[in-house]
Symmetry: none
Subunit: 207 residues, 4 copies
């Protein structure tokens, strides 16, 4: 119904910037449509007209914030374990920081609350990030460092799923050591039998 050609670019970007700013400095429960509108100096109706609610604004804001071109592809140094350690250490560092993980927290809450949001978030934000890891694994498989018979999507989830679980459920600290340990475990599972090296893990049980 609204005529997109008349849409105010000034308002659009003010809204997205306000949403990101509020995400970073307040609890997600305080990120109300009224707060965004007020901070952006915009009428509430402008938000409801073009997005329809808080969720879609947050999604757009983060897409915009994290770079509309999507994440850069992972480096491929040839050292699979080293490359994956860098990725997982980065993920774990972001999750461990309350400020940095605020956006992920917001996205997760919204994802759990709305199917529609979940799909859009997955396709427009998450998938591109996971695909960078998947591509690295695909290259590794071509190089014979990963078994031919593993589903690469499963492989990605094996790598990062545990960290997200630990973050959400607060079951333990998110450290570099944890990241490295998980990379070891995952690679042990993924490497071809012939190539498989001896040890993974190495820590004793947590108390």
């Amino acid at each position: 119904m609204p005529d997109a050609s008349r849409r105010s670019e000034r308002s659009r970007s003010a809204i997205l910037r306000a949403a990101v700013a509020l995400l970073e400095e307040k609890e997600y429960a305080d990120l109300t449509v009224e707060a965004i509108a007020s901070r952006a100096g915009v009428g509430k109706q402008t938000i409801y007209r073009w997005w329809g609610g808080r969720g879609p604004v947050v999604l757009d804001a983060l897409i915009d914030h994290l770079g509309p071109d999507g994440p850069p592809s992972l480096p491929d140094t040839g050292d699979l374990e080293g490359d994956l350690r860098l990725v997982l250490r980065a993920i774990v560092a972001e999750l461990a920081d309350r400020r940095l993980s605020a956006t992920t927290r917001a996205l997760t809450i919204e994802t759990l609350s709305s199917d529609e949001f979940a799909e859009r978030m997955r396709d427009r934000l998450l998938r591109p990030q996971l695909d960078t890891i998947k591509e690295r694994l695909r290259a590794a498989r071509a190089a014979g460092q990963v078994r031919d018979d593993v589903d690469l999507d499963h492989a990605v989830e094996l790598l990062i799923g545990p960290a997200y679980h630990r973050w959400m459920m607060r079951t333990g600290p998110l450290t570099e050591g944890y990241a490295d340990d998980m990379v070891d475990l995952a690679l042990t599972a993924l490497r071809p039998a012939a190539v498989r090296s001896g040890a993974a893990g190495g820590a004793a049980d947590s108390p």
Copy 2:
């Protein structure tokens, strides 16, 4: 301040039952204190007096609902892979069912929203469940089926983290095949080198 000895057991259980019922039949956003009070035939003040808000009620309701004795310990048939497949298949089946997973969805949202809730939920609901898996793995390690050098907490997260990630992010279907595949991958990572069998996984890449 309130005198617990005068607390009405009738009201307490009516409230918890109402909360579970509403969780299963409505969106989490519709689970208001007023709705719980009304459904339970109880004054709002009774909820605020003993719990203080929606979150703690939901937590208690689920602790009560899932059995106050905690989850039963896992069977140990000697077949580690078989036992773990049963566990992960059960988890995946619950997550795949919209009705059954409503409680987990609610808990996760509340966990992401409140630190205090997160801690209580982790200690009173989640930990006991994870510990049953941990104990099964400990037995397996004693039997030489799991490497001595893995942190069992990490092992548990390796096993179930991917499924929760897939559930939350909707990155793919949650099937028995997925559960079995993840058990294979995890066990490949966990088994001592000497015992390690050839294949894990087996599916081609998802499209």
Copy 3:
């Protein structure tokens, strides 16, 4: 703070009509803000925004109900006693009727409860009514029917004060005879000595 130019006339009048209707059909204690809002099909906030509570709404409702132009001026037939009997009989008849006096009862309770309400009620509702009587007495004084040295405000209170006292305190029936008797007594007090006729009153003592 609210912008009066955007105020909804539809809501304003619906609220005032609802208040009058409820005043006439229920006890004053049942005249809650929620009941008014519900009956008027209006959000509670609209009442709190423009009035601030029950009292001011009731005041406005009655000002609106009794005619925003104020009471009509009293007739002046030249017969002072006759004119005043009409006034006091009308007052007494209204007070004697439970339904008709419901509004006066409400106003009086609110007046006794709030200084601010008391002032607004006096200036906007009561004073205009008392002034009509005062004007009639002023005309009578000009015609030599009332002594020059009486304070006309005192004269008005001498006339109507007893009836209100009897109504409030239920010390006796409010009849036409009572009204006439009080007019006689008051006029006896007010008439110039030269004009003063013999008898006032006439009833024997009440039992």
Copy 4:
């Protein structure tokens, strides 16, 4: 139903004292049953058992407070005008004082709210006070200072009604001058024609 012989005198008097104290230091709206019970160190049920609610407690409290023997009879110096001036000046002084008139305010509100309360208040508190004035007037009538044909109840209301009206409606200041003026006006109406002196009133109109 309750057995009066077992009633606790300690509680009874604590409740009445608490009610009077709260009446004098708070708004009438703050005089809740819970506040009385708490101040008196008494269970709420004790109040509901013996009185049934706030109104009856207030009534009893004031009867108790103002002296259970009722008001003393008026002095009769032979000077009717002087005696009545004392009475009306006392009434007016009490009404003019916010603290002293708090009890009258409370009684009036309750009287307007409940028929049952109104009757009990009238018979047990008000009538005895009015009767002292009535008796003084009866003596005056016997002495030929008041006309034989006036209803003494009407005469009492003529005397005090205006002051109560002015108090309630805040239509003007309650001063000794006002009291004296009203006594003059009333006596002018009440005196036998033969005895009637020239002037009553004397103030010019209020501005």
